[in-house]
Amino acid sequence: MHIGIDVGGTNTDAVLMNGDVLVDKIKNPTTPDVTSGIISCINTLISSRSDVDQIDAVMLGTTHFVNALLQRRELAPSAALRLCLPATTMLPPLVDWPDDLKNSIGGHTYMAGGGHEYDGREISSIDEKELRKIANQMTDEGVRSISICGVFSPVDGSHEQIAAEIIKSETPDVNITLSSEIGRVGLLERENAAMLNACLVEVASKTVAAIRTAMLSAGLNVPLFFSQNDGTLMQSEFASHYPVFTIASGPTNSMRGAAFLSGVLDAVIVDIGGTSTDGGMLIRGFPREAAVSVDVAGVRTNFRMPDVFSTALGGGSLIKQNPLTIGPESVGFKLASESMVFGGGQMTATDIAVANGMAEVGDLRLVSNIESSFAEGTINEIQKRVEDVVDQVKISAHPVPVVLVGGGSILVRNSFDGASNVIRPSNAEVANAIGAAISQVGGQVEKVYSLTDMSRDEALDLAKDEATQKAVEAGGDPKSIEIVDIEEIPLTYLPSNALRVKVKAVGNLI
């Protein structure tokens, strides 16, 4: 059995899963220290069970680390070291960061010799003396964590590793994040992501250690895994070194959990909340990734994030007549006091659904003065907007299953344009925790290969092997690992023999 936990801003949810079967679920408020809320969930789940020894892993999805970034708290004094000279100096590390975030970590940046060309040649060689000097300067500045980013390190990461060894020999206690282990081609974005990771490593180590200790004291001596942005898992020791990989796990777990509950692998997931509707496409059980760069706490990164299309429509959306407008304003969490069915003075989308007989919420008599033709017309418009969200996130014109979750899903009918069928799963309120519990392990590679010394097929095989190896290292059963995605992106405007390849492998936990 697995325990899946989702730590959200408001609630900490936990589920106990036996294979594909939901055994138990629990919802508790999130505690300021995060850990005690997690532990109280675990204790509630296992305290009355006699089969605790059947639990073989705990999977955790958390917003704790991204919140640390957003609130600029618990961040380690950190430095960014780029191996690049003489290239790229016009745009030094942290160049486009918000000032307050930069200041909260000290804003220390260094540029040194090193780095590679796209075809693997060196831009310049590593200068050991220079790096020793920088290491000592960092110590003087009180830096406790550093990121190292070499130009084209996704092609050749050796300079980052050599530099790390040199720095380590001068300052053994400093935490080091290598950009080649974090991100893909795109210098500033990868460097930013590595630096976000660097300043989170301390809080991550502390959090992971606290949860592990608490698990042991609750009698759970089993592996702890963290959910990653792409819907796969990493072991807790790994998570304490790479916390940045957890920061977008929330929407991913939600979509995967919803799909699991409805029993489909390819579907559009629509979450209609109080204020907004989010739609995302799940392909073979994983969310489709956004093609554009993603801002994290005001910092541009190139993480693979789920591609979510949002529109301002939800159960609390304000409805106005003559002419009809729906939202974008919403009563939000005050639905239970400000909407008409609850005796309030605002006409919301929920009131319309009740008046139209689609939902039983609050007091039907309080909306009896809403004309049925107006309610019908409004519901038609809401339906059209949700269908529009579905259409925007689909990848082809072909009808697909649509999974509806969220309190606002009472606003829409079951007949759907563009949908092969509409599914409203039960237990959707713990979809995030379930998404964590059912996760597999994965490995991803994105690299530029020079085709001067190898064929295209050899390059693809290398990438597949490396992705598979990463999945095994993450705890995957070698027999179950399969390649789920291969993408080739040749370099444009340059008729040279270089190929950018992205490969992703996933498998079941051993």
Binding site: A87, T88, F152, V448, L491
Partner: protein, 357 residues
């Protein structure tokens, strides 16, 4: 005369993306570099072509190479070094700088040497849009020699092309050098007189991209229609509105070739627009009839926000508006069309003017 401030860079980047017609590279890095230079050295001066003096010596600068490399080994002061190399070779100081290409990231390149030297940028360029190759500049079509050219990397290497049979040869040599330099480089070439600029350049194009970007940003702020704002800022037309329904993309010999099919919505319901691209959007067919073709501009923008969508970001489901703008007249002569018209891209289709009504 006007000045480019830090705030103007965002507008220029949006407008340059629109005139990039799907290609020209992502202007984000170019915008950051220009911003650093303006922060360090102050606003950059822009001269209208008719403000040039007959003694002026105007040098064209630009970037060359693969955008994928350019986002990793981000460019530095290479165009400044190239400008210096041209000055040294010709023994003549530059008095102003001009862009090679107003579409995409090259629109911002002149700002770097301009900020470093204090020389003004001329409000004009050699394409009035984006094109993939060095020889595709109006300067060379109308008799400006395409050499000398200096190509510089970030390490201190400079290659000088002092003589070439024609501009196509300059392109071949410069691109080979660029590959050796690590896939990205900057160049300076073709020192021009004021008269040459006034007669062979696409005029007022920098102020045009700023105006287009200003229009989009102001429409977003006031929640007005960015498409209408764009058409008010520059004469053109809505070619089509709809949803991307099919996409076929291959990369061959360094070109992202392919086609995108858009299914009509609203007034275009039940129609279909097909756009063929080779990095840039080149030919648009409504059902099967050609309605806009290079050198006229085919610009795909996000219908809601007016954001230009580059070829690599095209995707099923996007709601897009396709705008057509007349290409510069300099491209519509027999010489212009031979260099960068439909036949230069392998299309057996006659050019015909975009009908604006």
């Amino acid at each position: 005369m006007w000045h480019i401030s830090e705030d103007d860079l965002e507008s220029i980047a949006i407008g340059a993306g629109i005139l990039g017609t799907g290609g020209g590279g992502n202007p984000y890095i170019g915008m950051l570099r220009a911003r650093q230079m303006i922060r360090e050295n102050g606003p950059v001066k822009v001269l209208s072509p008719n403000e040039l003096d007959e003694n002026d010596n105007i040098v064209c600068v630009g970037g060359i190479g693969a955008p994928t490399v350019g986002i990793e080994k981000v460019r530095d002061k290479q165009s400044y070094y190239a400008l210096k190399a041209i000055e040294d070779f010709t023994g003549k100081k530059a008095t102003a700088i001009i862009s090679n290409e107003i579409g995409g990231s090259n629109s911002l390149e002149p700002i770097i040497p301009s900020a470093l030297t204090g020389l003004p940028v001329v409000d004009a360029d050699g394409m009035g849009r984006a094109y993939p190759e060095v020889q595709m500049k109006t300067y060379f079509v109308y008799g400006v020699p395409s050499y000398p050219m200096a190509v510089c990397d970030e390490k201190g290497n400079t290659a000088l092309i002092t003589e070439a049979l024609n501009a196509k040869w300059v392109e071949r040599m410069a691109r080979s050098v660029t590959i050796q330099m690590g896939g990205v480089a900057c160049y300076a070439l073709a020192p021009m007189t004021a008269y040459q600029v006034q007669t062979t350049a696409v005029l007022d194009s920098l102020s045009l991209v700023k105006r287009l970007g200003d229009a989009v940003r102001s429409a977003r702020n006031t929640h007005e229609d960015p498409i209408e704002a764009l058409l008010n800022a520059h004469p053109g037309k809505v070619l089509f509105q709809g949803k991307i329904s099919d996409l076929d993309r291959q990369t061959t010999a360094g070109f992202a070739r392919g086609q995108v099919v858009i299914e009509g919505m609203d007034q275009f319901e039940s129609d279909k627009l097909t756009i063929e691209f080779q990095n840039e959007n080149l030919i648009a067919r409504l059902n099967s009839e050609v309605i806009c073709i290079v050198p006229d501009l085919i610009c795909i923008v996000d219908s809601e926000r007016g954001e230009p969508i580059t070829t690599e970001l095209l995707r099923y489901g996007f709601r897009v508006t396709v705008l057509g703008f007349p290409g510069p007249d300099l491209w519509k002569t027999p010489e212009g069309l031979a260099t960068a018209g439909p036949s230069a891209f392998g299309y057996d289709v006659e050019y015909s003017d975009l009908e604006l009504t």
